[in-house]
Amino acid sequence: MEDLVAEVLQGSVRAMARLITLVENEDSRALQIMGAIYPHTGKAYVLGITGSPGTGKSTLTDKITTILREREQTVGVIAVDPSSPFTGGALLGDRIRMQRSSGDAEVFIRSMATRGNLGGLARTTADVVKIMDAFGKDWVIVETVGVGQDEVEIAKTADTTIVVLAPGLGDTIQSMKAGVMEIADLYVVNKADRLGADELLSEINVRVEQDFQIKKTAWQAPVLKTIAVENQGTESLVEAIERHRSFLRESGKLRKNRREKTRQETLALLKDEISRNVLEKVLGNGRFDALIDDIVAHKKDPYTSVQEIVRTIFPEE
């Protein structure tokens, strides 16, 4: 295992691919692996791309990657697609749109299935970002599953989040709703040659202006038009990403945001660890089942019972 981490740090693509599998499978060695990886992270810039299904996220990812490669940047891509809640299987189709990038040895593309996670990413996507970062990729691009309105996990992972929209998917009210529309550092109206693109563009501009009136912010999310398949507007998009990156750096927000992300991640790890330990103790003896019998029989109630359990494990001083 330590050999594998060392090989990743020396630039072995094969080792990185295998390490990602171990972490993705939440192997018993995963925490140890990530512990060894962590000191080598923090250098890559993380770009998140999210939006509804079919808006062109994969194609945009491919074009952005190509432009970054022309600028001699190395790129890792994580493309997330949904797992079936019924069979657990998944059809991962994002690579189809990444043909140009997939022929480039300096681009590492990994498809990930959500495996039951609902926030738009897989549970372990943030860890895979770290592995690519430690490997030495300058950029890690994370493409979420096609999202509805509530999948905002990407904003906790990415430095810059792009929300991709396409014409024909809804009216003004859609662009006023909460959730995904709130996490954009940049909006992209893709498929801008289609009917309704200009209306969509002005609707989003109105939203951005409203946001600004409600709360003055140092960064006002730009709204860009692209036709990704024709590579139109993609250079300007990369420029806008770079502008946001400079803004984050110069305003000190990059450091602040990353601190907050680290806090959230560490808190989540702590919660996992606590619940694992507590559950081992609680479920380790047969008393939990006996308790359930009592609750079913209405001799006890679940609310008081869980408090009692926790109090026996963590006695108050």
């Binding site: 990602i20 299987g89 022929g103 040895a105």
Partner: protein, 134 residues
Amino acid sequence: MTTKKRIKVIMAKPGLDGHDRGAKLLARVFAEAGMEVVYTGLRQTPEMIVDAALQEDADVVGLSSLSGVHNYFFPRVVELLKEKGLDDVLVVGGGIIPEEDVAGLRKAGVAAIFGPGTRTDDIIKFIEDKISGT
């Protein structure tokens, strides 16, 4: 807590023919069987297929050809996998493959050829048996 290891399959169409109904159907069949299937699409070079297998840490590479190029492309994929140290990846093929070519392909390292009419259950069982056996 621990997520179960899932069989990861690269489904690819090497060469230039555009007949991908079979490949797409099988990609779905494998996903329905609980596998994680990376569908790479049409017109793949052996290099692209092997890069995908490498990056995705695939257990299986499924190749489909209906244009008669299998005798070049299938062995070439096996060869490139070996060059990259991916000897343990199971390579299976399908499509329109004349009976007299099958022995040669098997000899070149293609584990199985599934022609038209093969029961999909049999293909799944073959893959599951091979992967769990390694």
